[in-house]
């Protein structure tokens, strides 16, 4: 049985103090970098810092796949200090970022090679979802079938109406934390959700490209040249991406010991695929940009039940230094693939 609870914003601290007894709390907070303000996920002690008003600049991916992770001492096989048993609560995760973690699951929890680091972090983490009351910069999750106002897999999903925070609690074990707070009126919430939903519909873009892209036709398409023409290969899109998971290994020497680490890496970098012989199967930026997009919209969905490796959060668009827009790429692909299909069926 689900319960609906509603808190005045000032009461949030009270709830979190209770949750803190069981969880280490991670939430979006503002960090200033000179004049620039960013919203990032951090472990919080002072709950007044929490900032739910907009999509965090960086996704919570690092709590499942840290940017750098020590895998262990290589020569002795000395036991790894695995992620601790302390439960983490990530507070206020929007539907796109929830979906992104879902996308990573079949990759790292596959039967052949289960990644115990990812697995352990996932087991020890609870996420409270957060509905979007308005479209965020450059995002289009609704175009990829993600609901910005609901997620069925999280135990708690929240809504922020500006004054109050609504909690839709579906996990009975978590209900105890909400016992002291009043019930919300489901109709009132539904009314608000409807208004938000309608606003989303007004600004929705239609993505009609077939997913997965047909592998060979899309790979051999001429539009990659145009799409990648300005790309600097800086890789920032992959670092902001909530679903990019390419990694590399590096080593760090202590005294006699050598630690093996795993670190985020990027398919946008030329050295990523360069062989020792000098041969590089993805030598040009055009090839690398194609790889990134094809991986997300063709290879990954082909391998994992048709689900693209993109949750349409829009961060790659917001942060690209040369304004490459994923939505434009998807529309370009859509037009080309539809024309190709047309040529085939008429010819």
């Amino acid at each position: 049985m689900a319960v609906l609870k509603v808190l005045q914003k000032e009461e949030l601290g009270k709830l979190l103090e209770e949750l803190k007894r069981e969880f280490q709390i991670v939430a979006p907070v503002i960090r200033k970098y000179g004049k620039k303000e960013r919203v990032e996920y951090h472990q919080v002690e002072d709950f007044s810092e929490i900032h739910l008003n907009r999509q965090p600049d960086t996704p919570p991916k690092k709590y499942f796949l840290p940017q750098n992770e020590r895998l262990g001492e290589e020569k002795s096989g000395e036991p790894v200090v695995e992620p601790g048993d302390r439960k983490t609560l990530i507070f206020g995760v929007r539907s796109c970022d929830l979906k992104a973690i879902d996308i990573l699951k079949p990759v790292f929890l596959d039967d052949d090679f289960t990644d115990t680091f990812f697995q352990k972090r996932l087991e020890n983490t609870v996420m409270f979802g957060l509905g979007c009351s308005e479209r965020q910069d450059n995002c289009f999750c609704d175009s990829l079938g993600i609901n910005p106002l609901e997620d069925e897999d999280v135990p708690v999903y929240m809504y922020d109406d500006g004054e109050k925070i609504w909690f839709h609690v579906t996990d009975s074990e978590l209900e105890k934390f909400f016992a002291d707070f009043p019930d919300g009126d489901p109709e009132e919430l539904e009314k608000m959700k409807k208004v938000w939903q309608e606003e989303f519909e007004k600004s929705a873009i239609e993505i009609g490209v077939p997913i997965p892209f047909p592998e060979l036709v899309a790979f051999n398409a001429p539009f990659w040249k145009e799409v990648a023409a300005n790309c600097l290969g800086c890789g920032i899109c992959t670092y902001y991406c909530p679903t990019c998971f390419c990694f590399g290994f590096f080593w760090e020497k202590r005294e006699e010991e050598i630690d093996k680490w795993r670190t985020w890496d990027s398919c946008m970098f030329p050295l990523f695929t360069k062989h020792g012989s000098g041969h590089n199967p993805r030598e040009t930026q055009e090839q690398r940009t194609r790889q990134r997009i094809m991986h997300k919209f063709s290879y990954h969905p082909n391998n994992f039940d048709g689900v693209p490796a993109c949750s349409a959060c829009g961060r790659c668009i917001s942060h690209c230094p040369v304004n490459i827009d994923l939505r434009v790429i998807l529309k370009t692909a859509e037009k080309y693939l539809k024309d190709e299909e047309g040529v085939k069926s008429s010819g």
Partner: protein
């Protein structure tokens, strides 16, 4: 210790200098140190391992010995980069990290009863040697048909596994031919690129024949084209691909060709599969 991401320890028990002065290829015989690990370590022809030089790095290499040799495995390595250089500087008795085995394998079961042709160029012979020695092993030889080999090298100086040749030549129903790029003094075998010699030197028309080829990418391309033009079914032309495989688990993102990860779905592919894959290797 993580099961897949950290290496087991192996000892280099023997180092063989394969080539002359032209190309520096050595073969390293590796024996896993822990008995329990050694017993569990089962590889098949066509698979590969990640070898770690402690404190230097890790790189992928195909098995060059047959799994019928259970105590150790051989890896042939050409000195090309940081890791291979460090391995070349190692000595017998040194320790090396071993992660694997990874990837799929040559279809050694499916090809039972069939005739086999091996077409190798340079160090491309290394992964094929694992299957050749498996097929020609006394215990297995009668399960396979005729075996033909055409082994190509740049020059006599660049030949590897010379110590295997007489065994191969003397194996029942087996012919071995050798070719080098350019005529040289004292050379009594073929001269020329292998794809130009296929029709002349091999019997391609024998039914029920499966072709295995490995070598420089350009050689694989010419040979597969030539075989296809000779009417061979692409499903019977098998090769093994090389990419910069790093994790070996189909995750890190370096070695995919389209949706296929060479480290997990490969490295062994037949030409029928490859014709459906994007040309990005």
């Amino acid at each position: 210790m993580d099961k897949y991401l950290l290496p087991h320890k192996g000892e280099i028990v023997k180092i063989t200098q394969e080539t002359g002065s032209n190309l520096n290829i050595k073969t390293f015989r590796v024996r896993l140190i822990e008995e329990e690990v050694r017993k569990k370590f089962k590889f098949l022809p066509g698979q590969f391992v990640e070898l770690t030089v402690f404190g230097v790095g890790e790189a992928p290499f195909g098995f060059a010995s047959s799994p019928t040799q259970e105590e150790y495995f051989d890896i042939s390595i050409k000195e090309t980069g940081l890791v291979t250089e460090a391995i070349h500087n190692m000595e017998e008795g040194d320790q090396i990290g071993v992660r694997g085995p990874f990837g799929n394998n040559f279809p050694y079961e499916e090809i039972k009863g069939k005739n086999l042709v091996f077409l190798a160029g340079g160090i491309g012979l290394a992964p094929l040697r694992s299957l050749i020695n498996f097929v020609l092993d006394e215990k297995n030889r009668d399960q396979y048909g005729r075996v033909q080999m055409l082994l190509a090298f740049r020059s006599p100086e660049d030949m590897l596994y010379k110590y295997d040749f007489s065994n191969w030549e003397n194996s029942p129903n087996t012919t071995v031919k050798y070719t080098i790029d350019e005529e040289c003094e004292g050379w009594v075998h073929c001269v020329g690129y292998p794809h130009e010699l296929l029709n002349e030197e091999l019997d391609l028309k024998e039914p029920d024949t499966v072709f295995f080829t490995c070598g420089p990418p350009i050689m694989i391309r010419f040979i597969t084209e030539e075989l296809r033009n000779s009417g061979i079914d692409p499903a019977n032309i098998i090769t093994t691909l090389e990419m910069k495989m790093s994790c070996g688990l189909g995750k890190c993102g370096r070695c995919n060709i389209g949706r296929h990860y060479v480290c997990k779905d490969g490295p062994v592919f037949d030409l029928k599969q490859m014709e459906q894959m994007p040309a990005e290797f």
